[in-house]
């Protein structure tokens, strides 16, 4: 892969939540990866594997336990001072999963979208109004919708309002935390198309968090697979789909339903058993197995993955 500008670098990021006294839940365990400027990075994994935590840690809703986050080369981990906080909120925006609970029911759409503007010193009501109408038009809503309350809108419309709120500040990086998983399929397509269009117009970089693999494949340039707070495989979308190496990735891919009933019946479902890894003798590492394709494993496992790769694997039968 050619040298591309990195917009986000994450190094050995760890995030722990205290569960009880002296007991901690490791939500993120040594996560390391980069996101390049202008790409769509898809993050997949089962529920509770830490995808959302990763997204929220990047935008600093949580304080990481250890590790480093660099945004455009500037460190945004550690203690936030006023300047860095402003830098983060100016440049990174987030789209939330639940279109119902992510909009304050007591505020009109105008107030919701313009909130970020007034924080950034655009206090003039006329100016705010103009910008809100403009962004509403971009996401396919009408100016008169600005005076409405969130409960008057449908799920897809609300998600578009959420997108408008994220985009009005002209961020360069967007974290989309399962933006379509609460919507039905026809609306999913609508929202994803809108996101891609916005990306084209505004030159965005998107971190797309999802558990729906088909959506991620359609959307992403590169894919990271997470399992239990750990990034287990990372690579170009096509590469990961064609040559999944880590058993967890294989299990995930084997779970995609196929649109052909005969093949679907014949398909072998793979199950992932974390017990197969024996990390007592050798410690696992995140290794670049082919250019741009990383996988997590112990040296002997990596050896096996290389053989698999050479022989060409077909996980489905």
């Amino acid at each position: 892969m050619a040298e591309r500008e990195k917009i986000l670098e994450i190094k050995n990021l760890c995030m722990e939540f205290p569960v009880k006294r002296r007991e901690k839940l490791k939500a993120l365990n040594n996560v390391t990866f980069d996101i390049y400027k202008g790409e769509n990075f898809g993050l997949v994994g089962e529920s509770g594997c830490g995808k959302t935590t990763l997204g929220r840690t990047i935008i600093r809703l949580y304080n990481p336990t250890s590790g480093e986050i660099l945004f455009n080369g500037r460190s945004i981990s550690g203690k936030l001072n006023k300047d860095t906080r402003k830098y983060v909120t100016d440049n990174i925006a987030m789209i939330f999963q639940d279109p119902i609970s992510s909009l304050n029911p007591r505020m009109t759409i105008q107030e919701i979208i313009a909130e970020g503007l007034s924080i950034r010193g655009i206090k003039n009501k006329e100016e705010q109004r103009r910008m809100v109408v403009e962004i509403l038009d971009k996401v396919g809503l009408l100016p008169e919708h600005a005076a409405r309350y969130p409960h008057e809108f449908s799920g897809g419309q609300r998600q578009r309002i959420g997108i408008a709120r994220a985009l009005i500040l002209n961020p360069s990086f967007i974290i989309a935390d399962e933006p379509v998983s609460a919507l039905d399929v026809s609306i999913q397509a609508q929202v994803i198309k809108l996101l891609l269009e916005m990306k084209k117009i505004m030159g965005l970089t998107i971190l797309f968090i999802a558990h729906d693999l088909s959506v991620v494949k359609y959307f992403s340039d590169r894919i990271g697979v997470m399992c239990k707070g750990q990034l287990v495989e990372l690579g170009d979308a096509d590469e990961v789909y064609k040559n999944p190496l880590h058993p967890y990735t294989r299990a995930l891919l084997s779970a995609i339903p196929e649109p052909d009933p005969i093949r679907e019946k014949k398909k072998k479902r793979l199950y992932y058993d974390p017990q197969i890894h024996d990390y007592s003798k050798e410690s696992p590492e995140f290794v670049e197995i082919t250019p741009g394709h990383f996988v997590y494993g112990s040296p002997s496992e990596i050896e096996q993955y290389r053989i698999d790769l050479k022989e060409g694997i077909n996980i489905f039968n």
């Binding site: 609970s101 505020m107 924080i119 005076a147 198309k193």
Partner: protein, 385 residues
């Protein structure tokens, strides 16, 4: 993908121009809403008026409030005017007495009177007798119970009637009742307002910051809650003296704790919600988060609980008055009147009945009104009936 790989030859043999794009490329655009936009307060009003019970409650509260303001000035008596010759008079309203309904007719039963003297106009002035009952013979003398119009019996003219009767010092109960309701309402509303303000500040700090701050603040409230109220109030009245101020203080001193707890729990409920997180990702400051995002959404429970706290405070004030820690005479409150009326309950029940009716109406109405307000303030309940 696999379908294609399996039938490569078949699919490749189809000429490209036979394919048609199914996906439409037109931009999404929504239709205008058919309904008119409704502003928040109008919406609240619409939903509130739908609830008949709470509208009635609001009207009752309004009537009591108006009477509390203007009631004492509506007749010729003052709340502290004493008439030693007209004590414990029964209630009489001439207009109602003329209807012969048996109420507000100044009727009072004189027991065990000689039957023979009934016609004696020096003893029983002209048509003061309403009813004669219970004839019996005691020691050869015919005795009866005579119900008389007590005002005519004493020779008091109609325009000097006590509408709700008078108490043991001859003070007008109508005037004192509304004067008392006024005092009770002022004490209750002021103390509840103070409680809400204190509880709001305390609860929102504890709830928003959580962790150690929350732990320390909540332990303090628990210590405060552990003191028995009577002891605190007695000590307080000893130090500050009796009076409105010290009663209000006594109702504040530990009653803000439940409000603070309720608001704290509301903060815990909303501070993790996605719209608060979303606001934080936009860089909204703590104060704006508290006052713009979290508080408006917890307004429903706050309003309901403070509406329910008003009758509770009235009740607490009555209780204090009842045990003798209430307002100083001649000032009055509903509690003072109840405790005075209770002493003569068997002979002059009306002295208890009127304050009791007013306090009951206040309690029920404030509860219903609070519920109605909560429903009205919660847009998520729209169309849920």
């Amino acid at each position: 993908m696999t379908l294609y790989e399996d039938n490569k030859e078949l699919y490749d043999s189809i000429p490209a121009e036979k394919f048609k794009r199914v996906e439409r490329d037109e931009a999404i655009h929504d239709a205008k809403f058919q309904t008119k936009p409704i502003c928040f307060l109008k919406d609240v009003w619409l939903r509130f008026t739908k609830n008949k019970a709470s509208v009635c409650a609001a009207i009752v509260i309004l009537i009591i409030a108006v009477l509390a303001i203007f009631g004492p000035g509506m007749n010729r008596f003052k709340y502290d005017e004493q008439y030693p010759d007209r004590v414990n008079m029964p209630p009489k309203i001439p207009a109602i007495a003329n209807l012969n309904l048996g109420i507000f007719d100044g009727g009072y039963v004189l027991k065990n009177r000689q039957y023979d003297s009934i016609s004696d106009t020096t003893k029983y002035p002209n048509d003061c007798i309403i009813n004669v009952t219970n004839p019996q013979v005691v020691n050869g003398v015919r005795m009866v119970d005579v119900e008389v119009d007590y005002y005519k019996y004493l020779g008091i003219s109609d325009d000097e009637c006590y509408w709700f009767g008078s108490d043991y010092l001859g003070r007008d109960i109508w005037t004192r009742l509304w004067r008392g309701a006024r005092m009770s309402l002022i004490i209750a509303v002021v103390s509840v307002a103070c409680n809400v303000v204190i509880g709001l500040l305390y609860g929102s700090i504890a709830g928003y910051y959580g962790g150690t701050v929350d732990m320390i603040l909540m332990r303090i409230t628990e210590i405060l809650n552990a003191f028995p109220r009577i002891v605190i109030v007695t000590l307080f009245v000893m130090v500050a003296g009796t009076g409105m101020f010290s009663i209000i203080m006594a109702l504040i001193i530990k009653d803000w704790v439940p409000t603070a707890r309720m608001i704290r729990s509301q903060f815990y409920r909303f501070k993790g919600s996605e719209y608060v997180l979303a606001a934080r990702t936009l860089g909204v400051r703590d104060m704006a988060l508290i006052f713009r995002h979290i508080l408006p959404n917890s307004m429903g429970p706050i309003i309901t609980s403070s509406m329910i706290a008003v009758p509770t405070a009235i009740f607490a004030e009555s209780f204090l008055a009842y045990i003798g820690l209430g307002l100083q005479a001649p000032e009055t409150s509903i509690g003072v009147m109840l405790s005075q009326g209770q002493k003569v309950l068997l002979h002059y029940p009306t002295q208890v009945v009127f304050p009791a009716i007013v306090i009951s109406l206040l309690m029920i109405s404030f509860n219903l009104f609070g519920n109605g307000l909560r429903d009205a303030f919660d847009p998520t309940l729209r169309g849920a009936e």
